[in-house]
């Protein structure tokens, strides 16, 4: 008998005692969920490569090539041409329905494929051509097809369109990849959605289409019947934009009807099982209803949402999935389960679990920097649960609980949840959150709702009713879901590799990794006489790096409506439907920009080490330090250990270094208010990391905190360096509590590891709640937990086959432990396990 088979004979109680929650889930979930969970392919990459068997999808490229040729003949305006490409794909792509599925739709043509849109950019196309594992079989033939697609789209992509619009020096610096991520395009990043327009049951695609047609008719009438004046000039572009929106909505409705037809055909002609036949007929009925008309049931509501997301992923490469599912789907759960009793609780959990699985299987081919920065997942699908209604009352509902129960049953690493905690959240909800964390999911993360609502008002001036609708636009960043408050595209380029700030203080802005002058040409550090001069240089480098990234993204946002229109996203956004302007037009938005700060805490620890060992204790000179850093600490090991062990470190409630951290943040906050987005709003900092700490390890040189080139960076946000927080969890919270979480930045990620054995049972829940009370009293905005023992993680490293389902919190997202690189695994194990109580 194999070990696996033996384990399957163990009772649920025994497996619970051993805290092997993945086996518990497999034994207790429904047969449907078990089948669906095992039927999906993992789309996250390990390091630079996808899992074996996952292949790039060539269908979009081939269909787009077909429609491009047709569109050339028609000479359509660009936005219409683009909409027609997408419509052609939706009309002709391969569709399938998985056995047992009640929800349908996939971004690619087959379950094991990752979507590829070769119209996006040559850089991505080149990467696919070079990919050693993801080319579909037969490989030789597929390489030829990939080469043909690369050649066909070369010079015609969005990348080719936008690059010449940027300042050459800025673009070279960004493209070096040393300080920022990604291209500033409105078709790659994190698309917010106007859920208040779309998901409140008041309208669906057909209603919007009717409104758009009326707008086109009125504008057309004005053009042809009014006396010609400049007043009507913008109507030409608006008509094009509205028309493109109608093309997208009609294509979306036709696409759903294709699924309805397929489901009906399967039911009537192929399905022998009467129960499954009924299910397929219900799928058909669902797809005939949505997205054309508003949903009437939980199944229709979830299917509607799924279509909305998949269409958006056909239009753009999405790195995130902003969602508040319990809030928008909750009324349908209430009606189906509690009022009309059309669904049992378990049947509803099956639907919700399948919704999580459908999201988990989504995969779009991502460039290497994303694959490495988001190891194990396709993007940060951090779904927001709980929080408050617009009037401030508790918004948690039965679906909030159902989502957390379903998550423990299906155990997907993506999507994950973040719970908007506020003082009125019921104990029952908190218990469910605790159980998810105790079961090792690493989620939900806990967000401090009152703090973040105030923060949204402080930084971006969102009115309180709008601020209260907030959800996670990516892993951490709050954004409202309202007409002017939602952000249609957050370009990933405003993601700063912050450790470069302190590195450049010592290199005078020259980057040795990419061999170019990246930062400001500050004074020679060897001549610094006091710590104030170090701070001045730090401030200049900070402004130089953040200024570069903001300039580029501002430019990208300003040109996006022309260079990268988003007709589908516009069609589901009230402000675009109303005005006939592309959704990314900054004039329509209040602005909700932020700079994501990767590798941030190294700055405080490094500055503290310089202050302490060079200027206060005078143990070393700046000359000696510069020599050591230039040599990557080689030949200076005793000195390096001094900088590691004998300088104060963030996270120990030590004012010496904590004051430096607060100074750094407030200096950034000052600059954040000076920089403005194209909508005229502020650019606050949001320190967090995903797995950028590993991705950037070989790009950041030696630092004064004792780190060498190639060493993993800290796990990010305001989390202390792994193993450097030596004074317990309260000291960590107290350090973090010295930051003003409203005014010092947009949000602050805090990773904590807790002991699963200590937190078992009722006592564990009580201790965890007490910990959270301290967290809330200190005014922190975020905390997330890993509760998997070192023993389990070490066992998973040595025997990964047996531990396929172990999940860990990386930073801002969760991943299956076996799906992250060894270096990242080690970094997680190194984090301090905090004992609480």
């Amino acid at each position: 008998m194999t070990a696996e088979a033996a384990r399957n004979l163990e009772s649920v109680e025994d497996l619970e005692k051993k805290q092997q929650w993945w086996w518990v889930a497999e034994k207790t979930r429904s047969r449907r969920l078990d089948y669906l969970r095992k039927a999906i392919w993992k789309k996250g990459a390990i390091g630079g490569l996808y899992n074996p068997g996952v292949k790039v999808d060539l269908e979009f490229g081939l269909l787009a090539m077909e429609s491009w040729n047709a569109a050339q003949v028609l000479a359509d305006p660009k936005v219409i041409q683009f909409a027609k490409h997408l419509a052609h794909y939706l009309d002709n792509k391969t569709i399938f329905i998985t056995d047992h599925a009640q929800l349908v739709g996939y971004v690619g043509s087959l379950p094991h494929t990752v979507f590829w849109d070769p119209t996006m950019g040559e850089m991505l196309n080149e990467e696919i051509y070079n990919d050693s594992t993801a080319i579909p079989e037969p490989v030789e033939e597929s390489i030829k097809t990939v080469a043909e697609l690369c050649d066909f789209w070369a010079g015609k992509t969005m990348q080719s369109e936008i690059l010449p619009t940027f300042d050459i020096e800025d673009m070279m610096k960004v493209m070096s990849g040393a300080v920022g991520w990604g291209l500033p395009m409105s078709r790659t990043g994190y698309s917010g959605k106007d859920y208040e327009y779309l998901m409140t049951g008041k309208r669906a695609f057909q209603d919007i289409l009717d409104e758009l047609n009326q707008k086109i008719e009125e504008a057309d009438y004005r053009i042809h019947n009014e006396t010609p004046t400049p007043e009507i000039l913008d109507l030409y572009d608006k008509i094009d934009c509205w028309e493109a929106m109608t093309i997208m909505l009609e294509a979306g409705m036709r696409h759903a009807k294709r699924y309805a037809r397929l489901a009906r055909t399967l039911a009537e002609q192929f399905e022998a099982d009467s129960t499954r036949r009924e299910e397929l007929l219900l799928v058909a009925e669902t797809c005939e209803q949505v997205p054309a008309k508003p949903p009437r049931s939980l199944q229709e509501s979830l299917q509607y949402d799924l279509f909305i997301q998949l269409f958006s992923r056909t239009e753009a490469v999405e790195g995130a999935w902003p969602s508040r599912p319990d809030y928008y789907h909750g009324p349908y759960y209430q009606k189906d389960v509690n009022e009309k009793k059309r669904l049992t609780e378990q049947a509803a959990i099956d639907l919700v679990g399948e919704f999580l699985i459908r999201a988990a299987e989504v995969g779009q081919y991502k460039p290497r920097w994303t694959k490495e920065g988001l190891q194990g997942i396709d993007g940060t699908w951090v779904w927001t649960l709980g929080g408050v209604n617009k009037d401030g009352s508790d918004a948690c509902n039965d679906l909030t609980i159902a989502f957390m129960k379903a998550a423990r049953q299906v155990r997907v690493a993506n999507p994950t949840f973040a719970l908007r905690w506020h003082p009125e959240v019921r104990d029952e909800v908190m218990r469910e959150a605790f159980e998810c964390i105790r079961h090792g999911l690493g989620y939900p993360s806990i967000r401090n709702d009152p703090v973040l609502i105030e923060n949204a008002m402080f930084w971006h001036g969102h009115p309180v009713e709008e601020a209260r609708t907030w959800l996670h636009q990516a892993c951490m960043s709050p954004a409202p879901t309202t007409k002017h408050g939602f952000q249609p595209m957050r370009m990933a380029s405003a993601t700063a590799n912050c450790a470069k700030i302190i590195e450049y203080v010592f290199t005078r802005g020259f980057d040795k990794t990419v061999n170019m002058q990246m930062g400001a040409l500050t004074d020679d550090p060897r001549k610094f006489m006091d710590f104030e001069e170090v701070k001045t240089a730090w401030s200049a480098q900070m402004e130089s790096i953040f200024g570069l990234l903001v300039r580029v993204v501002n430019r990208g946002r300003a040109t996006a409506p022309k260079t990268c229109p988003r007709p589908y996203l516009s069609a589901i956004s009230e402000r675009s439907v109303e005005t006939g302007m592309d959704v990314c037009d900054p004039s329509l938005s209040r602005g909700n920009a932020w700079i994501t700060g990767f590798t941030w805490v190294e700055n405080a620890d490094s500055l503290a080490a310089v202050k302490k060992l060079v200027f206060d204790d005078k143990k070393y000179t700046m000359d000696q330090l510069c020599d050591a850093l230039e040599a990557d600490w080689e030949g200076h090991e005793a000195m390096r250990l001094d900088f590691v062990n004998n300088a104060p470190k963030w996270g120990n409630d030590d004012d010496y270094v904590d004051d430096i951290m607060v100074w750094c943040l407030r200096d950034v906050a000052r600059f954040s208010k000076e920089m403005k987005c194209p909508s005229g709003n502020n650019w606050p900092l949001l320190p967090e990391n995903v797995s950028g700490n590993i991705h950037y390890a070989n790009m950041v040189g030696a630092l004064p905190n004792g780190r060498r080139l190639g060493d993993a960076l800290y796990d990010g946000g305001i989390s202390p360096g792994p193993g450097l927080d030596k004074k317990g969890p309260t000291a960590v919270l107290k350090s973090c509590g010295k930051i003003n979480h409203v005014e010092d930045g947009r949000a602050f990620l805090l990773n904590q590891r807790l002991s699963p054995s200590q937190l078992a049972g009722e006592k564990g829940f009580t201790m965890w709640k007490a910990y959270l009370k301290t967290w809330a009293d200190l005014g922190l905005d975020h905390v997330q937990f890993n509760m998997v023992s070192d023993e389990t993680l070490r066992a998973a490293q040595s025997d990964p086959e047996k531990y396929q389902e172990v999940i860990v919190r990386v930073a801002g997202y969760s991943a299956h432990f076996v799906d992250i690189s060894r270096k990242t695994q080690d970094n997680i194990i190194q984090r301090t396990v905090q004992g609480i109580g």
Binding site: I46, G47, G48, L49, E122, M123, L124, N125, E126, E127, Y129, N130, D131, S132, T133, I135, K144, V146, A147, C150, D151, A154, G155, S160, L163, I168, E169, M171, M172, M175, S176, G177, A178, W181, P367, R368, W369, K371, E372, Q375, K512, T513, V514, N515, M516, Q517, S691, I694, H695, Y696, A697, N698, M699, G710, A712, S821, R822, K823, T824
Partner: protein, 116 residues
Amino acid sequence: MSRRDELRKVQAGRLSAQRAPKATQVKAEKICGLCSNYSEGAFSGEGAGSCRILKVKSDISADPPKYDLESTDGYQTMNLMDAGKCQYYEKMSFVDKDGTECSDPRYRRSMRQMQD
């Protein structure tokens, strides 16, 4: 040539490499991606990187090669660039051969053309 012009030239080189017909690509025996002086950039899935020794005005494909060691900006090159004539070429050894590790770009070979 102004710095902006130099940078434009670098970017044009990079873009033209991305647009080169794929069917004609042949891997040379000595390529930049196998050299220990080569740094893959963060975006380098498409095969771009820079030389840690040569500067922007270098051209290792010229005959004879041009070596600039003085300019401010580094020489942008590609994994598959023929480095047969470059006097600074030093073959590196790889550690991560299956490409599943991160952040060791100098010691990995996730690209199809660089597999053994």
